[in-house]
């Protein structure tokens, strides 16, 4: 379960919101470009420093500005999939998927190999195991990124515009896989997207940001068609 309260002054406005995501729940974060969605994810991941924040994951506090707690990004065990998937192009699919396991240290090689094989199997990319990740299609890369993120056994999965660069069929595949594993692993999940269809197809709850503030929150199918603050969704 993720609980986060974040305040950060950005260029044009202040990011000020609080999020709660339950285990197994997919929260879709929406808003126009520049409304603070990616910054929010980066702060939760520990890649950007907030001005003021209290973030806890499964009860463990990973960031508390007043108390001075700040767990570095390497230790937060959060799976993060980016828009361009960021698969390491010079490594094979297998090495990509195993990267997080190897980075953790202390896991025997056979175990790593087993886990990597299992995840590649689950994501239907086992036949691409020895292919250099740079040579894959967009949809394949996204599945590799997902496998890589889930292989570390994360406590939270975050995805930033994961479907934007994919075709319809790949989008459907990735959505299905995401839903399946988030439910199976019972981890909270945040998906950032700007497409209404994505939120209804994948989200359990949706939340709209406008100028850094939560402008609406609720069930995706009930999302109003306009933004009451700035009319940005008209």
């Amino acid at each position: 379960m993720l609980e986060a309260q974040i305040i950060k002054k950005l260029r044009d406005y202040s990011l000020d919101l609080s999020l709660t995501v339950r285990p197994g729940e997919i929260l879709v974060l929406m808003g126009i470009n520049g409304s603070g969605k990616s910054t929010t994810l980066n702060i939760i991941a520990g890649l950007t420093e907030p001005d003021l924040a209290v973030i806890s994951l499964n009860g463990e506090c990973i960031c508390h500005s007043q108390a001075g707690t700040y767990v570095p990004a390497e230790e937060r065990r959060i799976g993060y999939v980016l828009q361009n998937s960021a698969v390491f192009p010079h490594m094979t699919v297998r090495d990509n998927v195993a990267f997080g396991l190897r980075a953790r240290g202390g896991i025997p090689r056979q175990e790593i190999a087993k886990q990597a094989a299992r995840w590649m199997e689950q994501m239907h990319i086992a036949d691409l195991a020895e292919v250099r990740a740079g040579n894959l299609s967009g949809g394949q890369k996204q599945r590799v990124a997902l496998a890589r993120a889930l292989a570390i056994g994360p406590r939270l999965l975050m995805m930033d515009e994961p479907f934007t660069a994919l075709d319809t069929e790949s989008t459907q595949t990735v959505k299905d896989l995401t839903r399946r594993f988030v439910k199976a692993m019972q981890i909270p999940c945040i998906v950032v997207t700007h497409r209404l269809t994505d939120s209804t197809e994948i989200g359990d709850r949706a939340c709209v940001l406008c100028n850094g503030k939560k402008e609406w929150e609720g069930v995706p199918s009930e999302m109003p068609g306009f933004c009451s603050v700035c009319h940005c969704r008209d």
Partner: protein, 275 residues
């Protein structure tokens, strides 16, 4: 109908003209670069070459050049890579000035670089005088050759490395971090492999510049066969007394440079056939 046919013919002529111009341009540039090199090879016979190659002066210059250039390369890469990495990742006061100084040796005449090194490290130099008191002599030693090479050649690598590290999409390193990789592992497993090809090309340029260094060397390190007489110095001195000596060493330099560049290109091709 006639108008259409006329226009089609005009287009075709224009295209032919363009190809012709392109062909002339390519030929002109290639010949301008290749013919002088060819001329060196044609002025000496193979027998003369193989005889002269055994001249102790040639062997000594060859050894000094290769030895110093290799050390220069190792130092520049070992020190320059972390430097370029930190320089590109962090902003600090005076960063712009540091940037300028990295570029300075590129526009400085090599002789001036030699004078500068002499003024600092020479026996009566600003720092050199203290070294001298401790009995450490820098000018006129093989060390001086290496220092001169590092001074003039390092900008090639530093600029390249800096630019590569700046341009690499931060998403890769960020993702590596979220996956639990320490900064060192990220550097070694992600950043360096992704920039390797560019770094190698920077290293090749550094090698070439260091191998060909003349002006700073003769000013700071002097010209002493067996100690500081590198191949370029030997060519210059040799050309005046013994044409074949100069030609032989020149040919050796061409062969070495060519071989290195070819080897690097082949390695890069093998690693990344799509490049």
């Amino acid at each position: 109908m006639i108008a259409i046919a006329k226009r089609f013919r005009q287009d075709k002529t224009r295209r032919k003209l363009a190809y012709l111009a392109a062909g002339i341009l390519i030929a002109a540039v290639t010949l301008y670069l290749a013919l002088p090199i060819l001329a060196i090879f044609l002025r000496i016979t193979p027998e003369q070459f193989f005889t002269t190659i055994q001249n102790p002066q040639v062997i000594s210059a060859l050894w000094i050049s290769l030895f110093t250039t290799c050390i220069t390369l190792v130092v520049v890469i070992a020190v320059g890579t972390p430097f370029a990495y930190f320089h590109s990742r962090y902003s600090y006061p005076g960063k712009v000035i540091v940037d300028t100084f990295i570029d300075l040796p590129l526009v400085l005449p090599p002789a001036v670089a030699g004078v500068a090194l002499l003024m600092l490290y020479g026996r009566v130099g600003l720092l050199g005088q203290y070294f001298n008191m401790l009995g450490i002599q820098i000018a006129f030693t093989t060390l001086a050759v290496i220092m001169a090479q590092i001074f003039v050649a390092s900008p090639f690598y530093l600029r390249q490395a800096k630019s590569l590290f700046e341009q690499i999409d931060p998403a890769y390193e960020q993702t590596a971090r979220t996956l639990g990789a320490s900064p060192l592992r990220t550097l070694v497993s992600v950043t360096l492999p992704m920039t390797a090809s560019g770094l190698v090309s920077g290293a090749v340029m550094t090698f070439g510049r260091a191998l060909g260094e003349f002006g700073a060397t003769i000013m700071f390190a002097g010209n002493l066969p067996g100690v500081t007489q590198t191949m370029p110095l030997a060519v210059y001195v040799g050309m005046e007394s013994n044409l074949f000596l100069g030609l032989t060493i020149s040919i050796l330099l061409v062969i070495i440079s060519f071989a290195i560049m070819l080897a690097v290109r082949l390695i890069q091709k093998r690693e990344d056939p799509h490049a």
